[in-house]
Every structure is written in C-alpha cells, then in structure tokens.
C-alpha cells in the first residue's frame, strides 16, 4: 500500500470505486459542510474537496478536508497550481498528511479570469504535471529541490484527465505523462460524449496505461435542459453532444432532473463493464443530497467494506 487510504484499498482490492464531490462553502460555515457531508456517508468511498473551484474564494480545501474527516468521510484533497507556489504547496501537503489526509488530486486549476477575483495574479509556479511529480517525490522522501523530507507524506496521488479536449490524439500521451509523473489514479472530466470516451479508453488500454493507473470516469448528472446548454456552451473543455440536449428537450421541465439521473445511471452501467475503467467519480454539483438515490439507482450500494 502506498497510502493505505480507503480509496486505495477499494481500488487495489479490485472493487469498482465510487467517489463524490463536496464544494466548500463561501464562508466559515461548518454547518454547510455537515449538511453536504451527511448524505454522502457510507455512500461514497472518498469525497473530492475542491480547491477554490472555478477560481472563486471558498474555505480552503485542506480545512474542509479535515472537517470532512470529522464528519466520517474520507477526503480526496484537491490542490491547484493557480493559488500557491512550490513552497506553499509542499508545505500544505505535509500539513495535510500529518492531520490525516491520505488522497490528493493534483490540478492546474481554472484560470483566475473565470473567478470572483479576475484581477488577481495567477501563480502557476509549477504545473499539474510537476505537482504530481512533486507529491510523488515527497512520498519517496525528497522535496522538489532534492533535499530529504523528514517523515514522508504517504499520499495516494490523483490527477485529472480531459479525454475530450483537442488535440484528441495527444490526450492519451498526456495521460501517460501524468502516470510517469507519479499519478496512482485518474479522475476524468465530466463525460457526455460516450463515443469519444470509448475511443480514449481504448487507446489508453492499447498503450497499456490502464494497467498502470486506476481511471475513474467522471459523471455529472444534468439537472435540467438549461444546465446542459450552459455546460455545452460556457464551460471550458466540456463536450456535450446534441443527443444529450435533445433527450432532455424531449421530456417536460419537471422531469428533466429525473431524466438526467437516468442518463447518468446508463453511463455508469456501461462503465462498470468497460475494461480499463476502475470506478466512477460522481460530481453532483450542488446536488449532494441526491447522491444516495443516484448511487442506489446505479447499483453502487452497498459500498464494499475494506
């Protein structure tokens, strides 16, 4: 075991993993975290705690990760390169590990232009690839500068992948780079274009990458036709095919959420069978309370004990 986290145990035992997401509040609101955490208990194996998601100021991801632990959840601590330099990042990894955080997801971060402080300076001292390498290096006992770490942080290291962004041919090589950098697991961008996803997984499989890393397919159920349209046109790197839009269009407004969940469950069913996919990462944005019903309907419950 690299970290001994629950997520690592689930994946290494060959179970189909199920992770969720919890966006920290825009304030020191402990109750908001408790409220979002409650429905996730016993339903997901680990929960991603986002780091100033969409470049909007929120409670720190390590702070919210600790609160998630107190709530009985295992956090997957997200860290972006936008807001801190290599000193702060390495320091935060040490602090997070010492306080019981065992999973980390290394990301570049959405550009500050999209957030609530668009005039701020983006740090990007290192990029996500280099952050993965840094956390791996620290786990192996060395800081970025080669100096020794006194008690290495034994993190289970995650990275993101977007199978849909151009140039498509290069995406699988970039995935290989992340694996070489030290990624143990991958959580993908929200998937709506299944055809492209199948092709990406096939290419990853052909290159032997799925033997080296656990890939969790990213799923975000559409809550409404409006959300689908927004995702299609406004969210960078998102690929929403017209058939998704049309299917939601075909049902009356009140039932669109239900249809969105049904579509997500169909995707999950396919991923359970897909060779090279090791689990699902469910990003039910501001829909945490509906995760149990989605999990139930997708046949993800009960979660295995490890």
């Amino acid at each position: 075991m690299k970290s001994g986290s629950k997520l690592e145990k689930i994946l290494s035992a060959g179970h189909f993993a199920f992770t969720g997401e919890l966006g920290p509040p825009r304030g020191a609101n402990l109750e908001a975290i408790q409220k979002k955490a409650e429905p996730l208990k016993g339903v997901v194996d680990s929960v991603n705690i986002t780091d100033n998601q969409t470049a909007v100021v929120r409670m720190s991801s390590w702070g919210a990760s600790l609160l998630a632990i107190q709530q009985g959840l295992e956090p997957n601590y997200q860290m972006v390169c936008r807001d801190r330099n290599r000193l702060a990042m390495q320091a935060d990894v040490l602090g997070a590990y010492a306080l019981g955080i065992r999973n980390i997801l290394c990301l570049s971060g959405d550009h500050q232009q999209f957030g609530d402080h668009p005039q701020c300076k983006g740090v990007f001292d290192i990029d996500s690839m280099q952050l993965i390498q840094a956390v791996k290096g620290m786990r192996d006992g060395k800081f970025i500068n080669g100096q020794e770490v006194d008690e290495p942080p034994r993190m289970f290291i995650g990275a993101a992948a977007n199978p849909f962004a151009e140039p498509f041919e290069w995406r699988v090589y970039r995935l290989a780079k992340k694996i070489n950098a030290g990624a143990d697991f991958i959580q993908t961008q929200c998937i709506y274009n299944m055809e492209k996803m199948r092709e990406w997984v096939k290419r990853a499989r052909d290159m032997g990458l799925t033997e080296k890393v656990y890939i969790l397919a990213g799923i975000t159920p559409m809550k409404s036709l409006g959300m689908a349209r927004y995702m299609k046109s406004k969210v960078p790197g998102m690929d929403v095919p017209d058939e998704v839009i049309n299917r939601l269009k075909g049902v009356e407004k009140k039932k669109q959420g239900k249809e969105g969940i049904a579509m997500a469950c169909e995707q999950i069913q396919e991923f359970k069978e897909m060779k090279g996919i090791s689990g699902i990462h469910l990003m039910a944005i501001e829909w945490e309370h509906r995760v149990p019903e989605i999990a139930e309907q997708a046949g993800m419950l009960p979660r295995p004990e490890v």
């Binding site: 690839m129 280099q130 962004a165 090589y173 970039r174 780079k177 790197g237």
Partner: protein, 225 residues
C-alpha cells in the same frame, strides 16, 4: 521590441497638473516603432496638452525633445542643457527608459505618459502581439519556437490543459491554445518526442532585479561591483 501604449489623456493631464513648464520626452527606438512614444507621438501629445490649456489664465508651456534611446546615457546626455529649463518631464519611453531619464535628472520630477505592455512582434501596422515574458530560461527549443510561458495563460510547461476549446484558449476564443500550436508544429516536424518527457519545474530567473555583464566584460566592471 518593447511595446507600449499611451496612457489615457485625462490621466496624463492629472499627473502633470500644477507644473507650468513641462518637457515631453520621446524615445526613437521601440516605442517609436510601435507608434506610442516617438517624435511624432511627442508632437501630438504636446499639441493636445497645449490645446487643453487654452482656457487657462496662465497656460502651461510644453517643450518637445526626442532622443534615440532613453535607456542609454550617451543619448540622454543630449538633454543635459535642456532639462534645467523645465519644472517636470513627461516621458514617452518604456519603463526602463523612464527610469533612466529620472536617474539622470534626480532633481526634476519625471512622469510616465505611456504604459509599457510587453515584448512583442509587429503583426501589421499598428498591430502588435506579445511573444516573450523574459523569464530568463528559454524553452523554445523544446516547444517548436512557440513560448508556452507567454502564449499559455497558465504558463504551463506540460500542456495542453483540459480547458482548451477546440484549438483555442479557454480564457479567450480568439487566442489560439499555445500547446495546441506546439503539438501541431512538433508533429509536423516529427519531433513530438520533445514533449513526451515531463518538463521539470522552471527556474524563473526574472524574480529579482537582474544585472547582466556579457562574457569578456567581467574584468572591466570588476571595480564597480
């Protein structure tokens, strides 16, 4: 070259308010080429300033002078006899030129008339684009002659990120994704192996004021260090 843009007129007026004799100082190199602060632009600005003073009881006077390079003492010395006749200087050079002018005339207030924007290229007349951040550690050999530090909004060295929209940057659909261009050009040259290896964290060499003495000149400046 260094590209600059003239400040809004109201801001310039505010900066020099109260001074009755102001010398507008142009620079004949980069800012002249990019049409921001050469002899012609000095004339235009001085005229605009004079016009704005017309209704004043005691209108301020504006002189004009342009030197070949404000970042060079040899050319600044041409102003030694002129500057004492003025209360303030309004420089249209880049930030480096403005500072060197101020350093040469420490008793005279110096104000900037332009904002220095970037190191860039001339796309067409009056159209310039940034190409270099002067990071001090050039990676263009790896990236097919396209700078990811400058052209990628996140300065990624292992791009492209997941936010690319087709082949354009997530922050601006009119801005091509630097890493998409890098990929395409390296593919065309059969050199994709250059970016399959993980590029290590950069050694940012532009994080403190820098001095450069070219090889062969070290001895000459030994005593000044």
């Amino acid at each position: 070259m260094i590209v600059a843009k003239r400040k809004p007129f109201e801001e310039i007026k505010e900066l020099i308010e109260g001074y009755k004799k102001v010398l507008v100082v142009g620079c004949g190199t980069c800012v002249a080429v990019c049409l921001a602060g050469g002899e012609k632009e000095v004339g235009i600005l001085a005229d605009e300033l004079r016009l704005s003073q017309k209704s004043e009881k005691e209108p301020a006077e504006f002189g004009e002078a342009t030197v070949q390079r404000q970042c060079d003492r040899e050319f600044l010395s041409e102003l030694d006899d002129i500057v004492p006749q003025y209360e303030a200087l309004l420089s249209m050079a880049c930030g480096a030129g403005i500072q060197f002018l101020a350093e040469r005339f420490p008793d005279t207030p110096v104000f900037p008339a332009v904002n220095t924007t970037f190191i860039g290229v001339n796309q067409d007349v009056g159209w310039y684009e940034e190409r270099c951040k002067a990071c001090g550690n050039c990676v263009l050999g790896m990236t097919a002659g396209i700078c990811p530090v400058t052209m990628c909004a996140k300065s990624l060295l292992n791009g492209p990120c997941g936010g690319t929209n087709g082949s354009s940057c997530e922050v601006d659909p009119n801005q091509p994704c630097a890493w998409h261009m890098i990929y395409e050009r390296l593919a065309r040259q059969g050199r994709l192996d250059k970016i399959i290896e993980i590029c290590p964290a950069n050694d940012w060499r532009n994080q403190k004021p820098q001095t450069l003495i070219q090889p062969g000149y070290e001895e000459r400046y030994e005593s000044e260090k």
